[in-house]
């Protein structure tokens, strides 16, 4: 393998991995707290991308202000979803799964009715146009921005979960909801918070990818599936597992995609999910 192709694939994999980790982390946090695998998480990603398009193109807000507004809007929407739909299903994994399937259908079609059937695109702002070159490896600035923004988000979430008081409460609820409740932690509040946080992270990923790829109503399906692979791989509810799993999936997709086709890359990613579910359902970092 020549080294140029190798480094180029590595950079591409890193971009893919960052997006997947950001989506998977939200999904996994929600699972850790509420015991619900929210299949409609990909729809929050999709709504993030559409909201950025709406704010930036329709309402003509500057790009970065639009991005923040889009993330806030989706975060609030996720909080509403938690309050109205998922709150009563906390702890019921299968019922949560079924309800989220209903949400997928409802949200995808609502997005078509709201934002139109044709694919939408958000042009990158001036500052993100062009290419960065290091020796002969090139990366477009918008993709480089994905790596930077996602890293910052992940770092902030890490600080929040491990250093802040509320973050510790989140960990406590994930470990033992009853004991946490006895210590005076409001599980309702933590659930809402985590759902909003997860929705916000999915929206960040959606906005960044919406700047690179066209936005359609089904754009959330692939990141969702990959995020599912990641959380099974890393262990349901495990944060370090999510990051390691995301890296593995990003690398697989990046390298297989470069040397074969994107379809074969996706097939290998889902095969990893299938194999892991059979061999080690608890995942790399999960507790049995």
């Amino acid at each position: 393998m020549n080294s140029f192709l190798f480094y180029q694939s590595l950079v591409n994999s890193l971009v893919l991995a960052m997006i997947i980790i950001l989506v998977a982390l939200g999904l996994n946090l929600v699972f850790g707290i509420m015991n619900i695998v929210n299949l409609a998480h990909g729809e929050l990603y999709m709504l993030g991308a559409y909201s950025l398009w709406w704010f930036h193109i329709k309402a003509e807000v500057p790009y970065f202000t639009g991005l923040i507004l889009a993330v806030l809007a989706v975060g609030i929407f996720a909080v509403l979803l938690e309050k109205l739909v998922f709150k009563s299903l906390r702890g019921q994994t299968l019922a949560g799964l079924l309800v989220s399937i209903g949400l997928i259908l409802a949200l995808q079609t609502s997005a078509i009715l709201l934002f139109g059937e044709q694919p939408r695109g958000v042009p990158a702002p001036e500052i993100l146009k062009g290419v960065i070159r290091v020796s002969n490896i090139s990366i477009s600035k918008e993709r480089f921005a994905v790596i930077i923004v996602c890293s910052i988000c992940l770092f902030l979430v890490y600080l929040f979960i491990n250093r802040s008081r509320i973050g510790k409460a989140v960990q406590a609820v994930a470990q033992d909801p009853d004991a946490a409740a006895l210590q005076g932690i409001s599980i309702d509040f933590i659930s809402t918070l985590v759902m909003g946080l997860g929705g916000g992270m999915a929206a960040v990923a959606g906005c960044l990818m919406g700047t690179i790829n066209p936005i359609t109503s089904t754009v959330g399906a692939q990141p969702l599936l990959e995020a599912l692979v990641v959380i099974v791989l890393g262990g349901l509810g495990s944060i370090p597992g999510t990051i390691v799993g995301g890296m593995i999936i990003g690398l697989t997709k990046g390298f297989v995609g470069t040397f074969f086709t994107n379809t074969i890359a996706s097939i290998s990613v889902y095969s990893i999910l299938f194999i892991f579910l059979i061999v080690r359902p608890a995942g790399i970092f999960g507790r049995d």
Binding site: L98, I101, I104, L105, L107, T109, L113, Y270, I278
Partner: protein, 324 residues
């Protein structure tokens, strides 16, 4: 005399194509096809396992018929048998591996299988025709002097298919095997301890359920003369799941009720002015949310629930009278 309305309904369904209404005859054919798929889906659901690959098995049946008839020039009927058989064998393999997992893990494993199978259809162009699918599937050869050309012949083909699958399900539901499946969701360990081989039972249920999907897929190929990867996406599995849950899973009559009422509703939506195809998934998604929230037992539980409500009401009234 209780069975009189049912007999009238049955005779009505049998004689329906004679009215010459092509549109509604086609709708009924679709209903029969989806009932077959949904009954298979429900069988493994009663054991507490959500099989999100059901549509992939239907697609396998369809593609098998398509390949055997167009590429190998085989007769339709032996192709259908081979298609159902190969779907069953594939399901046995998948089930043997993935039925060791439970609940959410099983749902995700079958989700992965469905996606892998769909992507292989797209990627392997020489065999499965890629995104374009396989067109020009010949109509079934005539049997007993019946030519397959018009809608009526397909109607009776589908009718026999659905009667067959209902008969199988009826037998299963009243057998020891069917009752054993019902208890797995809650007390698998207990079942195991009294000597029921849960893994084997689930495997059998999974293979039977998937074969039904393969059968319906073989019918799909003949009826539409075309199979393509777009016809067998995960969304179609979601629809099947919504039909089954809306009907209620306690009894297979619930599945019949769910499939027929929802498909008829979907066709009614078409007549609303300003119809947009995206209303269909929107309607089904909202139906699922509403059913999960307000009617967890599905439509089939409605009569019992209503009489329970009336009973409670009577009780309250009785108390009030007693209070006076």
């Amino acid at each position: 005399m209780k069975s009189v309305p049912w007999v009238i309904l049955l005779v009505g369904i049998v004689l329906f194509p004679l009215t010459g209404d092509i549109h509604w005859t086609r709708v009924l054919i679709e209903i029969f096809m989806w009932i077959t798929v949904s009954l298979g889906f429900r069988l493994i659901l009663t054991a507490g396992q959500i099989n999100l690959a059901q549509i992939a098995f239907m697609g396998l049946g369809g593609y098998a018929v398509a390949i055997l008839t167009t590429k190998l020039g085989l007769n339709y009927w032996p192709s259908l048998l081979i298609a159902v058989g190969s779907t069953a064998v594939f399901a046995l393999g998948i089930g043997y591996i993935s039925l060791r997992t439970k609940g959410i893990h099983f749902a995700l494993a079958t989700f992965a299988v469905a996606e892998i199978v769909r992507l292989i259809w797209i990627e392997w162009k020489s065999l499965f025709g890629g995104v374009g699918g396989i067109p020009n599937i010949p109509p079934p050869n005539s049997v007993l002097g019946i030519q397959f050309g018009n809608v009526i012949s397909y109607y009776y083909f589908a009718f026999i298919m659905v009667i067959f699958s209902m008969a199988v399900m009826y037998r299963i539901e009243r057998s020891r095997f069917g009752m054993a499946l019902l208890i797995f969701e809650h007390t698998e360990d207990l079942a195991q301890s009294v000597g029921i081989d849960c893994f084997r039972y689930k495997n059998i249920a999974f293979v039977i359920g998937s074969s039904f999907a393969g059968l319906a897929g073989g019918f799909f190929a003949a009826f539409f003369h075309y199979v393509g990867s777009e016809d067998f996406t995960i969304h179609q599995t979601f629809y099947v799941l919504i039909y089954v849950l809306t009907g209620g899973i306690q009894s297979f009559y619930g599945t019949l009720l769910g499939v027929s009422s929802l498909i008829i509703c979907l066709k009614m939506i078409h007549h609303i002015p300003g119809f947009n195809p995206v209303w269909e998934p929107l309607f089904l998604g909202c139906t699922l949310l509403a059913v999960m929230k307000f009617l967890p037992g599905g439509l089939i539980s409605l009569p019992g629930r209503l009489s329970l409500e009336r009973f409670k009401l009577d009780l309250k009234r009785g108390e009030r009278i007693a209070g006076d």
